[in-house]
Homo-oligomer: 408 residues x 2
């Protein structure tokens, strides 16, 4: 008999995890990337160069750079954001985090307390919403169109909250390659968002972790880079542009915000080796790599859209993403994607049910997110065909796949 820890555990813990059983055969979820695109040789060369040159600094916490992270990496991020995102900042304005998930945790930790309200996007990164919920906050989803948040709708939401005496803690947005819709908010709308936020006196949280993956490579100016951007707390990541297993993200914010986050970052610093290798690589072939990765992902995106069109026909609606790693699909009202998620999962096809990616779970209940970066084109074709088959079996749709009618 093993010792029974139950009486010693906190009463309010989430449900226990189950053992990891490996990835599903058709893995259309998560921020995984294209395995063939990981710049293995260049990362190895970067590791070797930077360790040979600066390895002994590993003997100190934080590499002599202090708790904001490795100075050379922060300088590299500042250069990158200046040239690619029109965001002028310096190493002093940057806090390196252990992935952009820690960035979100730190942002929430300084702003959110139970009972607070945040504004998110109507289709929204699921992890952002579960984090808010866990902290006892509620959120309102701002409606989206093909250019991101609809400003008329946001204005109404802010007015309604104001009428109720509620000041939201921030507007959380992924303006560039929105998750899950893949849209890109044009600059004029970013200016309008800043104007609205200013008129209500509230901050904005800009999550830009997919922005390197915009198909044409031409990122609009970050919201934080526009006039009035001092009300923006910005975060980014290398997970999507290099490799998700590397856990390095960052926050760009003014010192009055960063200085409150630092005491809450109790991990003794973000992994130094990863920071060193990324800094070295960022100063090297990063830009060429990202250009090649974009082209690979664009090809997989085309394969995914083609497969969904072929297998689901008129039953599936979507807009072509402007970049990124996912497709946001609307199925007929008859389809409950949570049920589809379970049925498909049991047969090795993993999807994100739309309810988990929607501020209004019911409104997302016949939508789904399909990630295309990790599976091969072959797996995309097979997996989507299998998904259509399961969907037909469960819900009677799609009625046609390709030129073949399915028996009802």
């Amino acid at each position: 008999m093993s010792f029974d820890y139950t009486p010693f555990l906190r009463a309010d813990l989430p449900a226990p995890a189950t053992r990891f059983g490996g990835f599903p055969k058709y893995n259309f979820v998560g921020g995984h990337n294209d395995a063939g695109s990981v710049p293995v040789a260049d990362l190895a060369a970067a590791a070797s160069a930077v360790l040979t040159r600066e390895g002994p600094t590993l003997a100190t916490y934080g590499l002599n750079s202090g708790p904001q992270g490795y100075t050379a990496l922060r300088q590299g991020i500042a250069r990158h954001l200046g040239s690619k995102a029109g965001l002028a900042c310096s190493a002093d304005d940057i806090l390196v985090t252990s992935g952009s998930l820690q960035a979100l945790d730190l942002i929430n930790a300084v702003f959110i307390q139970p009972g607070d309200t945040a504004i998110v996007e109507e289709g929204c990164y699921g992890g952002a919403m579960t984090r808010l919920k866990k902290l006892g906050a509620s959120y309102v989803g701002a409606p989206l169109d093909g250019d991101g948040i609809r400003m008329d709708a946001l204005s109404n939401i802010l007015d309604n909250l104001k009428a109720k005496g509620t000041v939201p803690k921030f507007v959380y947005t992924i303006p560039t390659v929105q998750n899950p819709t893949g849209s890109v908010m044009p600059v004029e709308r970013r200016v309008e968002l800043l104007r609205l936020a200013a008129s209500h006196g509230i901050p904005i949280v800009e999550d830009d972790c997919y922005a390197d993956l915009i198909w044409d490579g031409d990122r609009p100016t970050a919201i934080k880079g526009l006039p009035g951007g001092d009300r923006v707390v910005y975060c980014g990541s290398f997970s999507k542009s290099i490799a998700p297993a590397l856990r390095v993200g960052y926050i760009v914010a003014d010192w009055p915000v960063l200085s409150r986050m630092l005491p809450l970052k109790t991990d003794g610093g973000t992994g130094a080796l990863e920071q060193m290798v990324l800094a070295e690589y960022l100063a090297g072939s990063f830009d060429d790599h990202v250009a090649a990765l974009r082209s690979t992902l664009k090809g997989k995106c085309a394969a995914m859209m083609e497969a969904v069109n072929r297998e689901f026909g008129a039953a599936a609606e979507f807009s072509a993403p402007k970049g990124g790693i996912f497709l946001w699909v609307t199925l007929p009202d008859a389809v409950d994607t949570m049920q589809l998620f379970k049925a498909a999962g049991a047969e090795g096809v993993a999807i994100n049910p739309g309810g988990e990616w929607s501020a209004d779970a019911a409104a997302g209940s016949h939508k789904l997110r399909l990630c295309f970066a990790n599976p091969s084109v072959e797996e995309i074709r097979e997996g989507v065909a299998k998904l259509a088959e399961i969907c037909h079996r469960e819900f009677g749709v799609p009625v046609r796949s390709g030129n073949v009618g399915r028996s009802g």
Copy 2:
């Protein structure tokens, strides 16, 4: 005018951080290590080998290994603990963490809620106590002697708590190279500790992060490795044996505990590159490296003891550590080491005031911790001389340094 975030920040945040201004000239604090001992070339070779072989797996979160961490690393840790610490475990029993600080955070997160009581050691790692305090828990310090926790005293503490109806959540101990005293708990006493914990039905948290650094290289069996060790949650780290800037620690525990921690580890996994490089290096020249590092640290420890003896003479009392990176020094009652900490800090000599490393802060107020791994022998000599000078100026002791009397 920048945007004022103040009204949006949580009301209960800790004081803001100050800008990092570089390390002090004489750095006798923190878990920093000997810079010349970082195995730079071998780490670079390990990085190159493992990236070349397995680099593409970086494209998935968690390297296809699931949220417990890179399988090869967990296997290596299990082998290491089996052969060095007499702790039989498998990869399934291990959760890789982002440093042992995250390990402590996860342990506290599953066990501690406001109002709880924990038992710590009377001289104790400061970060362990600040974490408990932050979570609203209180702690009782168990008295130490040269062999670690005194079991008669612990027995009394447990009886007293029981009489008050208090069940402590756990006993937190660093049995091997105790922080700050540098003692090693003999196996018989470990058995006795398990017996006491069993008779009160409580768990033990065993923090073994310095255990590789015992001078004679011969680690006693971990408490968790002894019969009844199922009541022990064990954690360790590579920070002290390879480099603190690498943020890889681990927890060894039964699945009923690990499965409750996993949902709370919201960082998307511990840095993969660090895990891969450590796994490769652990299977390679790790043991030889640690042997060499021990010898270097033992030399620096001797230099520190010699310097303290020379500069403080009879005013300083300490026991020779049995391993590790720090010396725990008691000064005369007249000396307030918090005041000494401030005065010395202003002149570039960083020390840990004993109150921060003591469960009873007042009892530790004339003690201090001096870390010797990072400074050179030269810096140890100069810095301790300077510290004695400042101490004499502030408190009139020591009255003699070396053969030289100080004017009162």
